[in-house]
Subunit: 434 residues, 2 copies
């Protein structure tokens, strides 16, 4: 067996055996297959695809390229949630403590922002002192004590994915459903989960612009879960406009705290409850969605969810006082209002433009090496369907630098559309795949 | 413009502009585009193809990646011939001196054997002292003085092809018609030719197993020639069985000398005359094929062709005495006859098996770094259509080592098929593309 033969077979549309796939992942991770052969194979996979069997084996092989966590000694179900990424998507931050307070174990590993979408870790790091990088022992201890942890991917987990993702990023092989699915699922399955809820975003601000593609991606990941005998549910949610009212790191912590306090914006709150209910159902802590939502509401109303969040932030080095006295969170020096050019109904509030504007302000990264500015961002006052007066503020831009403000405003001017007649009501929950 | 954007465009079936293609070839040759990005692009080209315009620009860009020869000061037409490679294909060796003796200028650059096909340079190097590696000045001087030269590709000519070919060889992207065509044509066009005759081999022992693929390859190369305003003619010839009666380096020099002396085997002689006539027509030294064949026959009968060959061999360091006293050519220590298992008609004489057996004897290379054994090889006594007695010799194997003999015989046993009824007569000339 040589890698050239395997490249040729995939190039011609043939299938790879389980043994061959395991060999490829092992040898590439060990550095024995050079990048130039792997990138040719990845392009062949991009263009020829994988069948279900190949995809399941590829994902398992990636998963086993490094450590695999073992939380079998924990008495409760371990359930995680993963989002394919969007603008203003701070859902993980309130969701984890709410479902942990309901009794689930949530070993949540998150990522950083790249491109126009933000990253959970960047948002959490705007809390003074918070550390996203935990060693495996710390990770396990915090998880055992608090039933949740909010950390970055461990270096020793799924090293094959880190290598392959970097190569895909440099060789035009990122947007492939099998390669995306296996990348996500290998990392999640390595967390030793009993269940996984996927939030697959659809729309202008998401990786998948249309429902059909999002559904295919969701079905593929649910299929991988089934092949691995892990229960996976995917919820398709709208990302044509930003989620909630804030885009930017510290600003999204404010909104997350609002959700934990029971007074978050309706759309963010609804996504948190919908995904949380699915997690509690997968973990067998509730029998119906109604019961699950009731448990979550209790965890919020009793303050248990907020307490849980505070304890975990403290355990990971963050200052819990900043969750109460929010003036301790970073803030931008200046603000500027963006106003409605005329009276009417908002028919568009563009997630991609607003996400890109936030990056221009410094809230995100242009390259992996950039630092983020925690205080800057955009508060969104009105979204699709709202009726506004001419001159009424549509958004407040939080900025630290005039030049970045100008760059952001250039995009934001066109992000909203105000028309004389109301649009059809947008739907937040688009579909689900089980 | 980034290479990633160009990879993505080709991946999705889009076209690359002339400027983009020139940039890719320049930057890759300069080492500024890494192998792992080029191999992903090559796989995308393999699977998505090139349109005619892209292929012409890609070929020109390759051609201009290094030196381009200039023989415009020579008074006569410069015409070369290129074969896509086969078993027993020694045609270049007698062809060049015959057409040079007719007045053409033939700046022939040849290659080495790899896989089951032999290489002209390996064959010539079995002549004691012969040097295939010439510096550009020597190349020009020999060409000017003798009207021909038989050399390897200069290091400074088309460096992009050397780099890209090595990468394709390692990444499963060799058998692509646009990539093969541009590789061949960039090197030939860099020779500053007035005309080019292509010998496109078809059959089991050739790269193209079937006529349709060979015709497509021929049409593509003729099209590149047209875009470059160079007259190119492609002749499709049979490679289901070896050409002539010898396979192996020194053995093929014997047969080449026979053709130059006017007593070569009919099939080799016919291919030499057919391709030579096309070369003389392209060079406007003859007006009809009949006239061209007449000129060539005269050059052979008068001894002018043999004299020309002898002079060039001497100019390139070879011992011209070995062309007269053939005992000075290398020879294997032992021979073994392969006999017909029964009486009947030969219905198969497999070029691939016989070529592979010759490699096992040491006549070819398993890897680029291997040396060839000049004396070993196979003399083929009977080919398709011949009637044989049971026990009559089909071939004589020339070998130096018992183990290599056994390995070769393992293949040769099955290379011939003897049946009770005669097969349809095989055709040597299969078609042509102008």
């Amino acid at each position: 067996m040589t890698i050239i033969e395997l490249i040729e077979r995939k190039r011609d549309g043939g299938g790879l055996t389980g043994e061959e796939i395991r060999w490829i992942i092992t040898e590439y991770t060990a550095g024995s297959i050079p990048d130039y052969q792997m990138s040719a194979l990845l392009m062949a996979i991009f263009l020829r695809g994988f069948n279900e069997r190949e995809l399941a084996v590829w994902t398992e092989a990636m998963m086993h390229s490094g450590d695999v966590l073992d939380f079998s000694h924990l008495p409760t179900a371990k359930v995680d949630k993963h989002s394919t990424g969007g603008v203003g998507d701070k859902v993980s931050i309130p969701l984890a403590p709410i479902v942990a307070a309901c009794g689930l174990v949530v070993p949540m590993m998150s990522g950083r922002g790249l491109g126009h979408t933000g990253g959970t870790l960047d948002k959490l790091e705007s809390i003074p002192g918070f550390r996203a990088r935990l060693d495996p022992d710390e990770f396990g201890q915090i998880l055992e004590r608090h039933g949740m942890v909010l950390a970055g991917q461990s270096e020793t987990l799924v090293p094959a994915d880190r290598l392959i993702y970097a190569l895909r990023d440099a060789t035009g092989t990122v947007p492939s459903i099998p390669l995306i699915s296996s990348s996500i699922m290998s990392k999640k399955l390595a967390e030793d989960l009993d269940g996984l809820v996927l939030d697959v975003k659809v729309g202008k601000g998401a990786f998948m612009k249309h429902e059909a593609g999002a559904r295919k991606l969701a079905e593929t990941m649910v299929g991988i879960g089934a092949a691995h005998r892990t229960r996976v549910v995917a919820i398709l949610t709208d990302m044509s406009q930003p989620l909630g009212t804030t885009v930017g790191n510290a600003l999204e912590i404010h909104e997350s705290l609002d959700v934990l306090a029971g007074n978050g914006p309706p759309d963010t709150t609804e996504i948190v409850y919908k995904l949380g209910a699915e997690m509690l159902l997968l973990g067998n802590l509730a029998q119906t969605e109604r019961e699950a939502r009731h448990m979550m509401r209790d965890a919020v109303d009793s303050g248990a969810a907020m307490e849980r969040f505070s304890a975990v932030i403290e355990a990971q080095g963050g200052d819990p006082a900043a969750l109460i006295d929010r003036s301790l969170l970073p803030a931008a020096r200046d603000t500027r209002e963006l106003r409605a050019p005329r009276a009417g109904f908002i028919t568009r509030c563009d997630a991609l433009d607003i996400g890109t504007a936030a990056v221009r302000l410094g809230a995100g990264r242009a390259t992996k090496e950039d630092d983020v500015d925690p205080g800057v961002g955009i508060i969104v006052h009105h979204k699709v369907g709202a009726e506004v007066e001419g001159g009424e503020p549509l958004a407040t831009v939080h900025y630290n630098d005039e030049q970045t403000l100008e760059n952001a405003l250039g995009l934001l001017q066109d992000a909203w559309e105000v028309a004389p007649t109301p649009p059809p009501p947008p739907s937040l929950l688009i579909g689900e795949v089980r």
